[in-house]
C-alpha cells in the first residue's frame, strides 16, 4: 500500500520488489483492492499497472470525517479538562 499511495502507477513486479510477499500474494491483494474500487488496473504494454484511486475513500467515509472525529475527541477532552 505504501508504494501505491504515492499516486503513481506501478506494475506487480515493482510492488513485489523489496517485500516478503510472492507475486501471487501481491496480485491477490491487488484484486481485493480493485474489487472495492480503490485500485485501478491499467493495461500498459505487456504488464498491467496498478494505481491507487482515492476517490472511493474520499466518498465512502470522507477523509475529512476522520479528521473531524479526531477533533471531536480532542475537544471533548478539552471540555472535561476546563470544566472540572
Amino acid at each position: 500500500m505504501k508504494k501505491l499511495s504515492n499516486g503513481q502507477p506501478h506494475s506487480i513486479s515493482e510492488l513485489t520488489k523489496g517485500t516478503d510477499l510472492t507475486r501471487q500474494a501481491v496480485t491477490k491483494h491487488l484484486r481485493v483492492l480493485e474489487s472495492v474500487g480503490i485500485v485501478n488496473g491499467i493495461k500498459s504494454g505487456r504488464e498491467s499497472l496498478y494505481r491507487f484511486d482515492p476517490e472511493p475513500l474520499n466518498q465512502a467515509k470522507g477523509y475529512l470525517d476522520i479528521f473531524s472525529e479526531q477533533w471531536d475527541q480532542a475537544l471533548n477532552r478539552l471540555k472535561k479538562f476546563v470544566e472540572e
Binding site: 482515492p54 473531524s68 479538562f81
Partner: protein
C-alpha cells in the same frame, strides 16, 4: 472546492480558563495528549511527541501563527504526518484556528481547520491509515489474509 472542518463547543468555564488551556503548552499537552517541551511562541515551530494510547512517541509539530489572548489561537501543521521517514515540510500545511467567545454559560469555542484542498491526494490516505477502525483495520486484515496465504503456498 474548499475542504474545511468546523466544530463548535460550549464550555462551562470562564474564558480566561479556556485561554490558558489552549495557550499554555503544559495545559495544552495535558488534554491533547502530547509531551510538549517548550512554550508556544508566535512565528515559531513547536515540537512534541504524542502520548495518546496507540500513537505514543509519534512526532507532532506546529508552527504558531496567532496568539490573541482570549480571542484566537492558531497554528499551521501537517495533519496525519505520522511517518518519520517522510519529509512533510514540502507540503502545504493546514491552518488550525481556535476562536473564543465569551457567553453567559461560559465560553463558546470554535475550531476550524482549513486548507485540506492543498493536501496531495495520496496523503489523504494517511487519515485512513491512522484511523482506529474502519478502512485501516480492513486493509490490515487484507494484508494478514494475503500473508497467511503466502505462507501456505511456500
Amino acid at each position: 472546492m474548499q475542504d474545511k472542518i468546523e466544530r463548535t463547543i460550549e464550555l462551562k468555564a470562564p474564558i480566561a480558563r479556556v485561554w490558558r488551556a489552549l495557550s499554555d503548552y503544559k495545559e495544552f499537552g495535558q488534554w491533547f495528549c502530547l509531551d510538549i517541551k517548550e512554550p508556544f511562541k508566535v512565528g515559531q515551530l513547536t515540537k512534541a511527541t504524542l502520548t495518546y494510547p496507540g500513537y505514543e512517541g509519534l512526532l507532532w509539530e506546529v508552527h504558531i501563527k496567532e496568539m490573541q489572548p482570549e480571542r484566537l489561537f492558531s497554528f499551521t501543521w501537517h495533519p496525519a504526518a505520522i511517518d518519520p521517514k517522510v519529509d512533510y515540510s514540502v507540503e502545504e500545511p493546514t491552518l488550525v484556528e481556535f476562536k473564543l467567545e465569551q457567553k453567559d454559560y461560559g465560553t463558546c469555542l470554535t475550531l476550524t481547520e482549513s486548507g485540506f484542498e492543498k493536501l496531495p491526494e495520496y496523503r489523504r490516505f494517511e487519515a485512513f491509515r491512522m484511523n482506529d477502525g474502519g478502512w485501516a483495520e480492513q486493509l490490515q486484515n487484507i494484508e494478514k489474509y494475503v500473508s497467511k496465504d503466502n505462507v501456505a503456498t511456500k
